[in-house]
């Protein structure tokens, strides 16, 4: 146990040198635990850990820590996501202690989508600290046993610290440096934004490898299978920081009626096959948005099953 920072399944899988495979679960816009359990059922056995999103796109949902606890009850390992939009440093630190006390071992640190996108655009945001500072906060609490004010913590939150990286947002030249900054701040693993522009991602990974970042941190490549041409167009046009090449949209269009979703899955599987071979990539983070039931099939066809036990 002591050889690990957290002892989470995800950490063990990565440390053992296995190619990790993580999934995602968006909590419901309601209090129905059965909804979370149903999604969990699709993911169980197919992934090493499940990201639980935190009011993603600034839409109010069941809190990420609460949905994470339901996953724990179902025998899945959550990767608890926390955004800085809705909490100040007091709430952030107390939630970190609370989730650890309940058995959560992975945490992904994010700034959070601006509330302007969501269903409460009139809200006041917090952004007391940013994602970089959040990473550093968790690391300080875990490794130095200190709160942000320097006070000692009794009972340390031994969390496996995750961070996000978007290789496609501008300015591109700075992105790999921002990744380095997150790793230096304390990130143990990185999950990237959904990748569609493979050429650009190869370039980004080459930069990361040249800087030796893959040796300091596990980088998981983000994959979201396209369900339809409409989804691809929407992502290309309306999701900031997303890079969807025209060639992919054309490929999906060319699949013909009723076969677009299958083509989207095929593309995702081709990506996963390439990531397995790509230097510096330690795993895949599969974000099958409201398509959790497809995860076992994708995992099977991508040769990710059975998941290793460490």
């Amino acid at each position: 146990m002591s050889e690990y920072k957290s002892g989470s399944n995800l950490e063990k899988i990565l440390k053992a040198g296995h190619f990790a495979f993580t999934g995602e679960c968006g909590p419901p816009q309601g209090a129905d635990a059965a909804h979370v359990r149903e999604k969990a059922g699709h993911l169980k056995g197919s992934v090493d850990a499940v990201n639980v999103t935190d009011n993603q796109t600034a839409v109010v949902r069941m809190s990420s820590w609460a949905a994470s606890l339901i996953l724990l009850q179902e025998g899945l390992e959550p990767n608890f996501q926390m955004v800085c939009r809705d909490r100040n440093r007091l709430a952030i630190q107390s939630d970190i202690l609370g989730i650890y006390a309940h058995g959560i071992r992975n945490m992904l640190c994010l700034s959070g989508d601006h509330q302007k996108f969501g269903n409460h655009p009139e809200a006041k945001n917090v952004f007391d600290i940013d994602s970089m500072q959040l990473i550093h906060t968790v690391k300080t609490m875990r490794d130095e046993g200190k709160f942000l004010n320097g006070q000692d913590i009794e009972g340390l939150p031994k969390l496996f610290i995750g961070a996000a990286s978007n290789p496609f947002a501008e300015p591109f030249d700075f992105r790999v440096y921002r990744l380095k900054k997150k790793i230096d701040a304390g990130a143990d693993f990185i999950q990237t934004q959904c990748i569609y522009n493979m050429e650009k991602f190869r370039e980004f990974m080459k930069q990361a490898v040249d800087m030796g970042l893959h040796e300091k941190c596990y980088i998981l490549a983000g994959v979201t299978p396209m369900k339809s041409v409409g989804m691809a167009r929407y992502m290309a046009k309306s999701v900031p920081g997303m890079d969807v090449p025209d060639s992919l949209i054309k490929r999906l269009q060319g699949a013909g009626k009723g076969k677009v979703a299958e083509e989207g899955i095929k593309f995702a599987i081709e990506q996963i096959e390439e990531f397995k071979e790509m230097e510096g990539v330690a795993g895949v983070h599969l974000m099958a948005i409201e398509w959790e039931h497809k995860v076992p099939e994708i995992a099977e066809r991508a040769g990710m099953l059975p998941r290793p036990r460490v």
């Binding site: 959070g112 940013d130 947002a169 300015p171 700075f174 900031p240």
Partner: protein
């Protein structure tokens, strides 16, 4: 300067609909510069109120007066002989003005005639843009002389976030991603190393989060 904009005329008319003797007070400070609360705007609003009242079949008395500043007690005191002749005062100054008036003239009914928006400047004729969030501890020199607290939608000190899109912020294509500008400028200046340095959490004690603010300069206090 402090940038303000006129309150919608409908809202203003509704505010003062029960008053017959109205004094509109302009300010020669920031609101004159941003064309919202100087002598000219005072005259225009006076005419507008009179016309609206006439249409509604009411005869009202509206006068205007523009003070040197509404954020200094000595100028606010200048109108002490006038105030009692009116049953409503409309201030076209920033949010400070109507409060100084309310404090100096406790029995007067004071209404804000403008919406105070931010601290900024004119970037072109008729267009103003925010520059300062008044956090009380200026740090712009770390960021190429640009303030990410006021100008990044998330006030990130270690930006840019993943929502930066071709130089624009994720919240709107009309908003520049200030971190895109900071990064490009600092890289041009050969200051990449500084950009990669971790910026720790900021103390917000000197910002509004520390409670209502008051500044005492001992050397100026008699």
């Amino acid at each position: 300067m402090i940038v303000a904009e006129p309150k919608p005329i409908k809202e203003l008319l509704e505010m003062v609909k029960d008053f017959n003797k109205i004094l509109i007070l302009g300010c020669k400070g920031c609101v004159t510069v941003c064309n919202v609360g100087g002598a000219k705007e005072v005259a225009i609003l006076a005419s507008t109120l009179k016309i609206a009242a006439k249409k509604a079949g009411r005869a009202i008395q509206v006068e205007g007066h523009t003070l040197e500043r509404q954020c200094d007690p000595e100028y606010v005191a200048e109108i002490k002989e006038m105030v009692d002749n009116y049953d409503a005062l409309i201030s076209l100054a920033c949010g400070v003005g109507p409060q100084f008036l309310s404090e100096r003239y406790p029995s007067a009914r004071v209404f804000p005639g403008v919406n105070t928006r931010f601290m900024g400047g004119a970037v072109e004729h008729g267009v103003w843009s925010e520059r300062c969030a008044g956090c009380g501890q200026c740090v712009i020199h770390y960021f190429g002389g640009i303030c990410p607290i006021a100008r990044c939608s998330k006030s990130l000190l270690n930006g840019p976030c993943g929502g930066s899109d071709h130089g624009k912020c994720e919240i709107s294509k009309d908003v520049d991603c200030i971190w895109d500008i900071i990064v490009r400028k600092m890289m041009d200046q050969g200051r990449l190393e500084e950009l990669i340095e971790f910026k720790p959490p900021k103390s917000w004690t000197t910002a509004r989060d520390g409670g209502p603010r008051k500044l005492v300069r001992e050397e100026l206090v008699r």
